[in-house]
């Protein structure tokens, strides 16, 4: 069993609290992605699971046993580092077999495992090279191979693709997804890139400043974010936020009017609204959720700044009269954009309501 459980995990460096009480359950075989902006504590949390940082307080279990003070090599984990961390004085083969040799495994068994991993990762012709003679993508594969041969219960990845160029990153992303399918092991993967998170994860953990903001399947986070932070972080281009004010509240619904444009009103579903009439709120609309004029529940006129045509779709950069900049995706039209004003439809069903603190109003 390779489930990982974190209970009230905290980490301080001196007086600095970096991880502020994290509770998390990761099931066997799950691909979990920690995502969040740079400096939010993703690496620290991962390194605590690996045993490379002490746990200040809280409990960590892997496969049911408490691992707080267990040596990293005895936790049943293997880690792939951002800089790959291959031993520069060893060949690929030696790098991959090093941990096993060190653990006193029989030569034939090491050879068998290294060869297996090399086959999975197509490293065959590179086995006798030193890391210096490999490209970034190849080093990355060796680093993954070094993790695979140890046959760990849990794989830990710390931003493994961030040193690769864009094309290779997409390629390796697919490779890692395939690998998970093949090996079926538990994977904890850290990234600041929400696209990696969305495409790879069974479950995303969104972190901000050492606190878990939301945990859920990628599409659940996309469809149903708990707050403006998660809403803004998941989805690309990021969600637009429009300032608004609560105009009236009816059972099951909150009606808001846009700042500066009180005539633009939206009736949003909210079973138990935590706001009252007159409150400042914001409406979140994803770029891809704007409708054509007249097709939504309300029309909004925006001033166009620039338009980008990507071929399959177009992005309109615009601002509303209250001044907020917004991005509108217009898959269907290329010509409609070359004008100063654009009217778009807002749909209540695909808009999110947040209170002034950024918490979702449902």
């Amino acid at each position: 069993m390779a489930d990982v459980r974190l209970t009230e995990i905290r980490k301080s460096f001196g007086a600095l609290d970096i991880i502020k009480g994290v509770d998390l359950s990761i099931e066997t075989g799950e691909f979990v992605v920690f995502v969040g902006p740079s400096g939010c504590g993703k690496s620290t949390l991962l390194r605590m699971i690996a045993g490379l940082e002490d746990i200040t307080s809280g409990e960590l279990t892997i496969g049911g046993s408490v691992m707080n003070d267990v040596d990293p090599s005895k936790r049943g984990i293997a880690m792939v580092f951002q800089s790959y961390a291959l031993y520069p004085h060893m060949t690929v083969r030696e790098n991959m077999g090093f941990a096993l040799r060190f653990a006193g495994m029989a030569k034939e068994e090491i050879e068998r495992r290294v060869t297996d991993a090399a086959n999975i990762l197509e490293l065959g012709p590179l086995m006798d090279r030193k890391p210096k003679a490999l490209s970034g993508g190849q080093r990355q594969r060796v680093a993954i191979g070094r993790a695979i041969v140890r046959n760990p219960d849990v794989f830990l990845f710390d931003e493994p693709l961030s040193n690769l160029d864009a094309e290779l990153r997409v390629h390796m992303r697919v490779e890692i997804a395939k690998l998970h399918k093949t090996l079926k092991s538990t994977i904890i993967y850290v990234t600041h890139d929400q696209v990696e998170a969305m495409t790879l994860a069974d479950k995303i953990v969104v972190l901000r400043a050492g606190v878990v903001e939301q945990v859920g399947a990628p599409l659940d986070l996309y469809d149903d974010p708990n707050n403006t932070f998660v809403a803004g972080f998941i989805g690309s281009p990021r969600m637009n936020f429009l300032k608004a004010q609560v105009a009236s509240i009816a059972p099951g619904f909150v009606t808001v009017s846009l700042a500066n444009q009180p005539d633009v009103q939206l009736r949003l579903p909210a079973a138990a609204p935590s706001v009252k009439v007159g409150d400042e709120v914001s409406i979140g609309v994803r770029p891809e959720h704007f409708r054509a004029a007249g097709q939504g529940d309300a029309d909004l006129v925006v001033a166009v700044d620039v338009a980008e045509h990507l071929g399959n779709t177009s992005y309109v950069y615009a601002h509303v009269s209250a001044g907020e900049r917004i991005i509108i995706e217009r898959a269907e039209s290329r010509s409609a954009i070359n004008r100063e004003k654009l009217t778009v439809g807002l749909s209540a069903a695909s808009s999110f309501l947040f209170d002034s603190a950024g918490t979702r109003v449902r």
């Binding site: 045993g51 990293p72 090599s73 293997a78 880690m79 031993y87 941990a99």
Partner: protein, 279 residues
């Protein structure tokens, strides 16, 4: 304004290169001249040397014979080699561990202790000589090679050098090694040492040369002829009542050979080490 004529422009362009070569030539002359002069003098009689003769003579074999009769060459070389090699190995062992520790382990006291270590660089050796001599005397170590070793092993400069070089050692390598099951001393031995080998080579050259050429402290603590090193012997030849400079030059050549040898063998690693170990 008249336009600058082309040849002059070209001259100006070559001037930086030319001045570089002139400066390098002067430096080469200054460093090579003593060597050449040493070689020439070794073939002349003492009288000729004093007269300032600058051509090769025919007294080489006489000088060699005289040197070997005056000096117990195997013993003196053995003393020097023993001291230099032991000093080098021990200094590198202690200083590399200290440099590694200072860079790898975080602690509140770290930078205070490190400042103290660096502070010792500012105390001139002359100020330490007498207290050190008294310490060695109390410990009964006067006239032993241990007395030369002990004060030099923990070298602030080499610790500094190792700490600076360790900054380029990727900490993720240490993390990877921990995950692979290595203890701290194993990380040091199996990862750090091989990765930093040019740093070690450069340190080896520096410490070996310093130790081999060390004069003042051995002069003070080594008093019997059985323990003296080559530098002491050569200098005692030179300060005799009637010094035979031809013989002194033979001694100087022999004393220089090991350092030259070490440098030429480790030249590439030395340069790499001075430029930084980790690529």
């Amino acid at each position: 304004m008249t336009p600058t004529p082309a040849p002059s422009a070209r001259t100006w362009r070559f001037l930086p290169a030319a001045s570089t070569y002139i400066a390098l030539s002067i430096a080469a002359f200054v460093s090579l001249f003593p060597f050449v002069w040493m070689l020439i003098s070794a073939t002349n009689t003492s009288i000729d040397i004093i007269k300032g003769k600058t051509s090769f003579g025919d007294a080489f074999s006489t000088n060699v014979t005289n040197f070997f009769t005056l000096v117990d060459v195997p013993l003196v070389f053995w003393n020097s080699a023993k001291v230099a090699i032991l000093t080098t190995l021990l200094t590198i062992a202690v200083s590399s561990l200290a440099g590694y520790g200072f860079e790898m382990f975080r602690s509140k006291m770290r930078d205070h202790i490190y400042s103290l270590v660096l502070l010792t660089l500012m105390v001139p050796f002359a100020a330490l000589m007498i207290p050190l001599f008294m310490m060695m005397g109390r410990a009964g170590l006067i006239n032993t090679h241990v007395a030369i070793l002990l004060p030099t092993i923990a070298s602030a400069f080499i610790i500094f050098y190792f700490r600076q070089s360790t900054k380029a050692f990727p900490t993720e390598l240490r993390d990877a090694a921990k995950v692979d099951g290595l203890k701290e001393w194993q990380i040091f031995l199996y990862i750090y040492v091989p990765v930093m080998r040019s740093t070690f080579a450069a340190a080896f050259v520096i410490v070996f040369m310093t130790s081999w050429n060390n004069y003042l402290w051995p002069l003070i603590v080594l008093q019997s002829n059985e323990t003296k090193t080559i530098t002491l012997v050569v200098s005692s030849l030179a300060s005799a009542y009637y010094p035979d400079f031809g013989v002194v030059m033979i001694g100087t050549i022999l004393a220089t050979l090991p350092t030259l040898l070490v440098f030429f063998i480790m030249q590439r690693q030395f340069v790499a080490g001075m430029l930084g170990s980790v690529k």
